[in-house]
């Protein structure tokens, strides 16, 4: 063969090496397996950060490569979390209910246990009945399948409707925000079947596992690192070949791609669905580490943050997305966690908990205006990667995608 896949993408090896070293280092510093210099809660933070990096990779595929600014991928992330959360909560509650009933003089029937679980889980929303969407909650296998199927199906239906009507650019972004808002408002309702604004909780407890959180946190950290590695390789594979050429073509001039005979809508739909599934997997690993998921997680702003991470990290390059997600979310944890010292200006005290969002917004504006390649662009200085003169044309969804414009002008 002319070139091997890795040969064409040396950055993959570098990325995997960095990720491996990081994972090993954290393992040896953890409470469970090593020196105990970093706390279990920080291990969880790092594990969650890796999941955010994975969803950022998905976002970069759809936005940075295909030019579709989806502001709804965090909804898919949240759905993945809900799907695994249902199983975790069901099985965990079952253990507790069965345990408390074990002492009864008459052994409880299967139905009594299920009723007990229902009362435990849905008591907060004034119900004890299992909604129909919980029908598979006792099966880990089926709920794991739903982690990819539910986001995938939602993306497929939504994308089919939107792309078929050739909705592009800002209009598509607004539609995805509308979808996200509708989903989170629906989940906020008590009769949505997912405990309304209480969400699902206690997700950090793995059913049947007696090991302490020190160990569980490291397991999830490893799983997150593995998922990120696999997701990264998969994404790199997608964009490296002709498929990557076509989607970048769609980003830069979708009319031209159509005249080459490619069904632009089909490609967009495929990518939208696949990235939604990746987001679902990322969410399914994230929320057991967070311990709780509620509809606020799916709020439209979360998806906008996702776009901000990718923009700051540098879209159109996968490691840029990872850097953006890791950097911004860790800095964000630092500032909003109260660790950053307040700055006393004498007449006013800057409290970072409040001012961080403004700082983030300003950096987004700065990056968009002055450093469109983001942090990842710094690597170009090292690698001296050459770029064509785009004659001022920006990367992806350009003004032209707002209207059906002739490709000739």
């Amino acid at each position: 063969m002319r070139n091997t896949f890795i040969g064409r993408n040396p950055s993959i090896l570098i990325f995997l090496a960095v990720l491996a070293v990081f994972t090993i280092a954290i393992t040896f510093m953890s409470e469970a397996f090593g020196a105990g210099v970093i706390s279990t809660s920080f291990v969880k933070t790092l594990g969650k950060t890796l999941c955010l990096a994975l969803v950022a990779v998905a976002m970069d595929l759809i936005w940075g490569y295909a030019g579709i600014l989806s502001l709804g991928h965090f909804a898919f992330f949240g759905l993945g979390g809900y799907m695994i959360g249902m199983w975790l909560m069901y099985e965990r509650t079952k253990e507790i209910v069965a345990g408390s009933m074990a002492g009864n003089p008459i052994p409880p029937t299967e139905q009594e246990i299920v009723d007990g679980i229902g009362t435990q889980i849905f008591g907060v929303v004034g119900s004890s009945e299992f909604p129909i969407i919980w029908m598979f909650a006792d099966s880990l296998f089926l709920q794991l399948a739903l982690v990819v199927l539910v986001p995938g199906l939602l993306a497929l239906v939504f994308g089919w409707l939107a792309f078929r009507s050739r909705v592009t650019g800002v209009y598509l972004s607004i539609l995805t925000q509308a979808m996200t808002l509708a989903l989170s408002l629906y989940l906020f309702q008590n009769d949505s079947g997912l405990r309304g604004n209480n969400g699902l909780s206690g997700l950090q407890n793995l059913p049947g596992v007696t090991a302490s959180q020190d160990f569980v946190s490291i397991w999830f950290f490893w799983a997150s690192a593995l998922a990120l590695a696999v997701g990264y390789i998969f994404a790199a594979w997608i964009v490296s070949g002709k498929f990557g050429s076509v989607i970048r073509g769609i980003r830069d001039n979708e009319a031209r791609v159509r005249f080459l005979g490619y069904s632009v809508e089909g490609y967009k739909l495929f990518l939208f669905t696949v990235t939604a599934m990746i987001a679902g997997i990322a969410g399914a690993l994230y929320y057991p580490q967070a311990g709780i998921i509620n509809p606020a997680e799916i709020a439209p702003i979360a998806s906008i943050y996702l776009a901000v991470w990718v923009a700051i990290g540098g879209r159109g390059r996968l490691y840029g997305a990872v850097i953006g997600a890791v950097f911004v979310s860790l800095v964000s944890t630092f500032f909003t966690g109260g660790q950053a010292p307040d700055i006393n200006l004498g007449f006013y005290t800057i409290q970072w908990v409040d001012w961080w969002t403004i700082l983030l917004g300003l950096s987004f504006v700065f990056v968009t205006l002055f450093a469109p390649k983001g942090i990842g662009g710094l690597f170009d200085l090292i690698a001296d990667r050459r770029h064509p003169d785009r004659h001022g044309a920006d990367l992806g969804p350009d003004k032209g995608s707002l209207q059906e414009r002739e490709a000739t002008e």
Binding site: G241, K242, S245, F270, R390
Partner: protein, 247 residues
């Protein structure tokens, strides 16, 4: 005369009350070179938009191939897959990608997303790319980003992408714009060569260029055919002189 490939039958299209194409009929054979000339706004580009599915006409038919399939109502990608390739007035290549990637994308192969995902270029594909690159004079530029090419080179790359598609009909909108005289000559050669095995329709304002194509000429004016025949025949036509040449 070779058999008929494309038959445009009585099409009209109106933009906001303005009739850009007015009951236009037009035929082209399966191995024929045809030049279309006419003043600005005559509807030349709009004609190509209709044939390639970009613009839907208000009335009329576009019949294609031996089976006389109606192209109206098919989307752009389907029409391209039928074997109609198009070059735009302004060169549009994928500037962020290499010349080679541009050509590979255009090569006639399965266009379905799954097939493309698992696609690997064969030796035959790579040979085809280097043949095409030689034909359009870009052999030494294969690895360069196409955005770095000169205007004329981009025009050629786009023509190369057209040839890579192996279409049965090539619609070429003002290929010589922005080219040096030598480049124009080379472009004529490529088009004349291509027309030996397929139909080629060229829109061009440059009369010298049209003369060198040495083919039948159709004059469009206000959305319909004003005259048709050899270049000498149409340039002798008084109406043509009045609306186009005389300006």
């Amino acid at each position: 005369m070779s058999s008929q490939l494309l038959e445009v039958n009585g099409i009209s299209v109106t933009f906001d009350g303005f009739r850009a194409i007015n009951n236009l009929s037009f035929n082209i054979g399966s191995a024929e070179l045809r030049a279309i000339i006419g003043p600005n706004g005559a509807g030349k580009t709009t004609f190509m938009d209709i044939v390639t599915g970009k613009t839907k006409p208000d009335e009329g038919k576009v019949l294609w191939g031996e089976m006389s399939k109606n192209l109206i109502g098919m989307n752009e990608a389907k029409i391209a897959q039928e074997g109609i390739g198009r070059k735009f007035q302004k060169p549009t290549v994928f500037e962020d990608q290499s010349v080679e990637d541009n050509l590979l994308m255009a090569l006639k192969n399965n266009r379905k997303s799954f097939a493309v995902l698992f696609w690997k270029p064969t030796d035959a594909d790579m040979n085809r790319v280097s043949d095409l690159a030689a034909e359009i004079g870009l052999s030494n530029e294969l690895k360069r980003k196409s955005g770095e090419l000169s205007h004329g080179q981009k025009q050629w790359l786009e023509i190369g992408m057209l040839l890579a598609q192996e279409p049965r009909l090539l619609l070429v909108d003002e290929p010589a714009a922005g080219m040096t005289p030598e480049e124009r000559e080379h472009t004529t050669d490529i088009l004349v060569e291509a027309a030996k095995t397929r139909a080629v329709v060229v829109v061009e304002h440059d009369m010298e260029f049209v003369r060198r194509l040495n083919c039948k000429v159709t004059v469009l004016h206000e959305g319909s055919v004003l005259a048709e025949g050899s270049l000498d025949h149409v340039t002798a036509n008084q109406q043509v002189i009045d609306v186009y040449l005389g300006r």
